[in-house]
């Protein structure tokens, strides 16, 4: 049975299922207990599972992440919440030098079944240190898997897949999606890690987007359809590994590619998608340059108008696609 719940509720449901199914599953993070998490994602899970399994950590991101790594190495299955993805900057050591590499450095002697959740993105007026999209850092690191769910359905299914996964899985959740509602089945199901989703089929141009930009791309596609432009919208969902085949197949079909993402444009995921296409056979199908719409080359400003201007918006996508199809690019 499926019903409408929010993205945040879908994530909580996945954690609830994991906690009830397996004693070894624990939640760790700052203020995820009685407070329910800064974005109310863990909510009241502490009432059901107690403070031993829904653990408030001190404000110690590096140590907390390291504890999660050590616990995962020795039999627990921690789900670690960063209060904001920006604070991952404090824990890169444990995420990148330890979690991502331990298995390899030990020649396969251990696995690290660790899930980390990162509330990310701008739009909340929290300024430069609470609004970043840093997923590209982790997508650059072998040993990790990196997800960006865009719907309540995927948020639950991908999190359950991540929990089942024997290796570290990093999940970037856009803060503005938490309240978004959508159809979500009750009970357990998983969405495969590493598969993109074609959210809208189209013939004229492929728009490959991530996170909240998928929704902006779909909105743009609607408007473009009115003027007869048929855009295909691909939700990457997973940026490590990348679903090469789905992207290439789309480009072979449409011959045009626009990448849309919120992270800083330079070296954001769109760079990898564009380069991946440019070195593939799909290159020969390209009829136009590959465009990227990414975040501005600046920190996220506080003022709301500046903040909006710092990331791609629906009109930007519409204009870019028009320019591309009408040969202005």
């Amino acid at each position: 049975m499926s019903r409408e719940i929010s993205y945040a509720e879908a994530i909580r449901e996945a954690m609830d299922i994991a906690l009830s199914e397996d004693d070894r599953t624990i939640l760790m993070g700052e203020d995820i207990g009685v407070y329910g998490g800064a974005f109310q994602v863990t909510g009241d899970l502490i009432d059901k599972y107690g403070s031993d399994r829904v653990m408030d950590t001190p404000i110690s991101e590096l140590g907390g992440a390291g504890v999660a790594v050590g616990a995962a190495m020795t039999g627990l299955r921690p789900i670690f919440e960063f209060q904001f993805s920006d604070f991952a900057a404090l824990a890169m050591e444990q995420i990148v030098n330890q979690a991502a590499k331990v298995r390899y450095m030990l020649g396969g002697a251990v696995s690290i079944p660790l899930v980390m959740r990162f509330p990310a993105g701008s739009g909340t007026g929290a300024a430069a240190q609470h609004s970043q999209s840093l997923e590209a850092w982790l997508a650059h690191v072998p040993g990790l898997k990196v997800l960006q769910p865009t719907t309540p359905y995927d948020a639950k299914g991908l999190l359950l897949a991540a929990i089942d996964d024997p290796d570290p899985v990093m999940i970037f959740e856009h803060k503005l999606l938490y309240k978004m509602k959508g159809e979500v089945p009750e009970g357990r199901y998983t969405v495969p890690i590493g598969k993109a989703a074609v959210r809208r089929e189209g013939r004229d141009v492929s728009i490959v987007a991530t996170s909240i930009m998928v929704h902006k791309a779909l909105e743009a596609a609607k408007t473009l359809a009115e003027s007869g432009i048929d855009a295909e919208v691909i939700d990457l969902r997973c940026i490590r590994p990348i679903d090469r085949e789905t992207v290439l197949a789309s480009v072979r079909k449409t011959s045009r590619l626009v990448c849309v993402y919120e992270a800083v444009k330079t070296l954001g995921i769109g760079a990898e998608i564009s380069a991946m296409v440019a070195e593939s056979d799909a290159f020969d199908y390209l009829d136009a340059p590959v465009l990227r719409l990414g975040g501005a080359e600046s920190p996220i400003p506080y003022n709301p108008d500046l903040e909006k201007a710092a990331v791609p918006q629906v009109p930007d996508i519409i204009t870019a696609v028009r320019d591309l199809l009408e040969g202005r690019r």
Binding site: E30, D31, G33, V34, Y35, G36, A38, Q40, D56, P58, I59, S60, E61, L62, G63, D86, F87, L90, T124, G125, A126, A127, A128, Q129, H130, A296, E297, S298, P299, P301, Y302, N303, P304, D305, L306, A309, A310
Partner: protein, 336 residues
């Protein structure tokens, strides 16, 4: 109106001029009313984002800064309005920053969590808990190397004391004998997490011994006690004897931020602390020692209300940033 002070008088009465004492009370009112104004503006939808109010902690901020000059530096926190006012900021520019205006201290780029006032020595609030700790040590290193004689006061919270940055900063400051005072505003919670549940030591000042520096715990709602502890620590710093750790026990009346449901503390606890309001306490001390009279206090409070009203008006009428300037100030010079 002044009178002879005797040895039993509070430290502040004995050591600070009546002008300084009055100015300190005035700043406490300004902080309180600035934040009430900010809260009100938020409710009226004039501010987006969130804010962290320090209502109830005013004696701590003002007591910590009363002995500082503009050349002395502070590093502030996400709960930094009080520090900013205590260091002498202009209310209009503070509100303008809140409102995201070009006339704000950060030209609308930073907002509440990044308000700074570099001319007055406030190196800025910080959105990263513990982020200011090593930066303060760096400022103290500059002061020592450049021989400015300035002291740096590093504000941080009880929650921040569990960040690795706290450990690394205090250790380096001590090894290098730098002129810095680590001022912990212990309001008993890091967001929802009490010191009991987060911190493996009774008083944060107890951690000073691990860095061979003096550590004291003071009543953070007692302006005089805070000012006295700071005077000792500042002297030590300026004498070249190195850093100190001051733990100021206080309390935030409001929730952690706008999204707080206060699930983690009782109404009684909050009420109990509201009874210990540092502002009337300060006013009463000044009246009791003839530094000012009741009418003077009332006048001062009304005056503060006026200042805030004007500040809000200034901010409201200030121009917003030009969207074309989005990437200005990312770098000092244009990139080639």
């Amino acid at each position: 109106m002044t009178q002879m002070s005797d040895a039993n008088d509070p430290w502040a009465i004995r050591n600070l001029t009546p002008e300084t004492l009055r100015e300190s009370l005035r700043k406490m009112y300004l902080i309180r009313k600035f934040e009430e104004g900010a809260e009100d503006s938020y409710t009226r939808g004039l501010i987006h984002g969130t804010m962290h109010l320090s209502i109830g902690q005013e004696a701590s901020a003002v007591g910590a800064c009363v002995g500082l000059s503009d050349s002395d530096k502070i590093t502030s926190t996400h709960r930094g309005h009080g520090h900013c006012v205590a260091k002498g900021a202009d209310m209009g520019r503070m509100f303008a920053e809140f409102f995201g205006k070009e006339t704000g201290y950060c030209r609308g780029r930073g907002g509440s969590m990044h308000i700074a006032d570099v001319e007055k020595g406030n190196l800025g609030a910080n959105g990263i808990v513990g982020g200011g700790l090593p930066i303060a040590v760096g400022a103290a290193l500059s002061a020592k190397r450049l021989g400015t004689g300035a002291v740096t006061v590093c504000f941080f919270g009880d929650g921040a004391n569990n960040e690795g940055a706290f450990h690394e900063a205090l250790n380096m400051a001590s090894v290098w004998k730098l002129p810095v005072v680590f001022f912990c505003e212990n309001n008993r919670y890091g967001m929802s997490t009490s010191t009991e549940r987060s911190t493996s030591v009774k008083q944060i000042a107890d951690r000073a011994a691990g860095y061979s520096m003096p550590g004291v715990t003071v009543d953070g709602n007692d302006f005089s006690a805070v000012a006295e502890a700071m005077a000792t620590a500042t002297q030590r710093a300026k004498a070249g004897d190195g850093p100190s750790l001051i733990e100021s026990m206080t309390y935030r009346w409001r929730g952690h931020s706008k999204s707080d449901r206060n699930r983690y503390r009782t109404k009684e606890e909050i009420a109990d602390w509201m009874d210990r309001d540092p502002i009337p306490r300060m006013a009463e001390m000044l009246i009791a020692h003839g530094v000012m009279d009741a009418e003077g206090v009332t006048a001062m409070e009304n005056d503060a209300d006026q200042t805030i009203a004007q500040a809000i008006e200034f901010a409201t009428n200030s121009p917003a940033p030009n969207v074309a300037d989005l990437t200005r100030d990312v770098y000092t010079r244009p990139l080639i």
